[in-house]
């Protein structure tokens, strides 16, 4: 279980311009769909883009506050 605001906050600390949306996939608060749009992803491989987001959420993943994370990343249109 994790506060969605703290997820957004953690991602914006790493990627200040990020637009972040969080959905709860199961209603349990720990299986999340997170979509991140940031100009900082420009030119990076998808693996690198996801690594940036995973890095920002490292603590929340390590403690299993987030148990499962489905992630999409994109650059602004």
């Amino acid at each position: 279980m994790v506060q969605f605001d703290s997820v957004k906050e953690a991602i914006r600390q790493a990627l200040p311009d990020a637009e972040v949306s969080v959905e709860d996939l199961t209603g349990g608060g720990d299986h999340l769909q997170v979509n991140v749009v940031s100009s900082q992803f420009a030119g990076l491989s998808r693996v690198r883009q996801h690594q940036l987001v995973y890095g920002a959420l490292k603590d929340q993943l390590a403690t299993e506050a987030i148990h499962a994370l489905a992630l999409t990343t994109a650059t602004p249109e």
Partner: protein, 107 residues
């Protein structure tokens, strides 16, 4: 990660052109994300090998350090880390995965 675990992971990723570290087996995936990857590779008719991380705690943690990637499943193609479930789904939907894997396994 100790050097033995590192060496075992290096050997595993090179053991097959497409190698998947997953929870469970091809026939009985133990996690929805792992199942996604198996279904995608099956749908593309790809031959691939899997390693069940639930059977080995050292590999389970070690592979995350190996790729600097915190989740399972992990897909390696010709020894290179390709991504997890989300990236495979995205590449499958765009048609990119079929194209890239066919080239990768042919070479």
């Amino acid at each position: 990660m100790d050097s033995n675990t590192q060496a075992r992971i290096e050997a595993l990723v090179k053991s097959s052109p497409i190698m998947v570290f997953m929870k469970g087996t091809k026939l009985m995936p133990q996690c929805g994300f792992s199942n996604n990857v198996v279904q995608i590779l099956n749908a593309l008719g790809m031959r691939f090998e899997t390693f069940d991380v639930l059977s080995d705690a050292e590999i389970r943690q070690g592979v995350k350090d190996f790729s600097n990637w915190p989740t399972i499943p992990q897909v390696y193609v010709n020894g290179e880390f390709y991504g997890g479930s989300d990236i495979l789904i995205e590449m499958y939907n765009s048609g990119e995965l079929k194209e890239k894997l066919e080239i990768a396994v042919a070479s």
